[in-house]
């Protein structure tokens, strides 16, 4: 497998895996939750790396995912207390956790292999190198880092297929879902676990900061062009794939890190689609059919 092919595979799989749960966050108007989570999981990643010596150990994944859920549960409790309003409750918690992560990283981990750069932007390019492949016999199965993401994608897809109706009713009218006796709490919590897992597993490839762009921007772009939930999922995944490849191409031409260019392309595509849809809408108003 050529380096470019491996890069393309890893980029597309990362983008698609991130944007699938992102669709539900966008329609639930919880986009900023990813921002909070991606900061909150950070100390978990650092401690996991300290204990196991690698940023890919199962221990690290579990620890970091649990810390991501601290945001969900903690923000819920803070909101119920009535002392702070919706977003502030997340804002209270994640800076503390992120600060602990940064402090640990800069004091304890100077020897271990996590750089500030990797935290910010991931190491997508390095993870596609021939030394990082999964090779069985003589078959090159692509970058090792791609496989956990692919597994997560399959789990997400199964979960969404199974609980689709509960997810949709809970997002649109939670009171109806609860009074009909749908398992909203369980399904919502499961979704949050998957979101947190996505943030953690995507950490290696895209870092803690860019993951929010990859999860939220493709569905947000999709929302501009479709008004149907089913289509939105499909369109978001398509946009994620295209922007991943475009971003990779820009990075390749400019000799830049891939993940930041993917996020950058997501932003540019969002702006273009926004402009075009606005223009079309104002044209329609100007020329009533």
């Amino acid at each position: 497998m050529t380096l470019l092919a491996a890069l393309a595979l890893l980029s597309v799989v990362t983008a698609v895996t991130c944007s699938l749960p992102g669709v539900f966050l966008v329609v639930r108007r919880q986009s900023m939750l990813v921002e909070a989570m991606s900061h909150a999981v950070f100390p978990g990643i650092v401690i996991g790396a300290l204990v196991s010596g690698s940023t890919r150990s199962p221990l690290m994944i579990v620890l970091a995912t649990v810390l991501g859920l601290v945001i969900v549960v903690g923000a819920d409790k803070a909101r119920q207390s009535g002392l702070v309003t919706a977003d502030a409750s997340q804002g209270l918690i994640y800076p503390v956790l992120f600060a602990i992560g940064v402090a640990l990283l800069s004091t304890q981990l100077s020897s271990v292999h996590i750089s500030e750069n990797a935290v910010l932007a991931g190491e997508l390019n390095l993870l596609a190198l021939p030394t990082e492949r999964w090779i069985i016999g003589t078959t090159d199965l692509g970058p090792q880092a791609m496989w956990p993401l692919l597994l997560l994608l399959v789990i997400d897809a199964l979960f969404i297929t199974l609980t689709y109706r509960v997810l949709v009713v809970s997002a649109f009218d939670p009171n109806l879902a609860r009074t009909m006796g749908l398992p909203t709490r369980t399904v919502n919590m499961a979704l949050m676990v998957l979101v947190s897992l996505t943030v953690v597993v995507a950490f290696n490839t895209v870092g803690a900061i860019l993951v929010v762009a990859l999860m939220i921007v493709p569905p947000a772009t999709g929302r501009l062009v479709t008004n149907r939930m089913g289509w939105l999922i499909f369109v978001s995944l398509a946009i994620a794939s295209v922007t991943a490849l475009l971003g990779l191409w820009v990075a390749y031409l400019g000799d830049l890190a891939t993940a930041p260019m993917m996020a950058f392309t997501d932003g540019v595509v969002f702006l273009i689609v926004l402009l075009v849809t606005r223009l079309v809408a104002s044209r329609r108003r100007a020329l009533p059919a």
């Binding site: 509960v166 997002a171 009171n175 109806l176 009074t179 749908l182």
Partner: protein
């Protein structure tokens, strides 16, 4: 046996009592209007009775049973303002949501469900809007969509939070006709209501609330008097009532 029986229901937000020892019995086949000024506890009463709010004390039974034993016989409709009308879905899909409790959320909707949805849309007169994105609906069309959804849900007891809020005259007439039609079928309706002038035409019984307490309840003829309305709303209410 009362269709809905509420005893000493008490709810607080932070340190503030929103509902204090509310008691209520609703008989089968009646339209019951919950009345009272803003913040009187009308919506709180409905929400707490179906378990959407945590209560300090009190007991609520439906058909003499706990809600979870009779969920399919009870339908709750939120205020239209409480949901996100920008959600990417259509009128038809919203109405279909009413079916999920009945057939289970794991199963794909079948022909019977599509039939029920079509009938519900027809009953509220919005069959032509079935494929419409919900953000494009007027206030009256939103309430009709919600009415269609609870019709598709097909409960015996309808708990409706302000089904006539923000509607045009045509929609108000259509929804009131549906409510009366349901009563004729023996269904029971409890609704939060704001328009005092339409109370005598619509409701059989009224429950008047003020500051979280039930001030009066009973049949319209006996309970919806100048005295009770004055007690509940003050002079402003008296004027609205006189308009009836």
């Amino acid at each position: 046996m009362a269709v809905l029986s509420i005893r000493d229901l008490t709810v607080a937000y932070q340190q503030q009592l929103a509902l204090a020892d509310a008691c209520l019995d609703v008989e089968e086949g009646r339209i019951v209007a919950l009345l009272g000024p803003n913040g009187a506890g009308k919506s709180t009463l409905l929400k707490a009775s179906v378990g959407l709010l945590s209560t300090i004390r009190g007991e609520v039974t439906f058909f003499g049973r706990k809600l979870r034993e009779v969920r399919q016989r009870v339908g709750y409709m939120s205020q239209a303002a409480e949901v996100d009308w920008d959600f990417p879905t259509t009128v038809r899909d919203v109405v279909m949501m009413g079916r999920y409790g009945r057939r289970g959320w794991l199963r794909r909707p079948g022909a019977a469900d599509r039939q029920a949805v079509a009938e519900a849309l027809d009953a509220v007169g919005i069959s032509d809007l079935a494929g419409r994105q919900i953000s494009q609906l007027s206030g009256g069309q939103k309430q009709r969509t919600f009415m269609a959804r609870i019709l598709a849900q097909d409960p015996e007891l309808f708990l409706l939070d302000e089904p006539l809020a923000g509607v045009d005259v045509a929609s108000q007439d259509a929804i009131m006709a549906i409510l009366k039609g349901l009563r004729a079928e023996g269904k029971t309706i409890v609704l939060v209501h704001h328009d005092l002038s339409s109370v005598p035409d619509l409701a059989d019984d009224v429950v008047l609330l003020r500051e979280g307490r039930v001030v009066a309840s009973g049949p319209v003829a006996e309970t919806f008097t100048e005295d009770t309305v004055m007690q509940c709303y003050g002079f402003q209410g008296l004027k609205s009532r006189a308009a009836a």
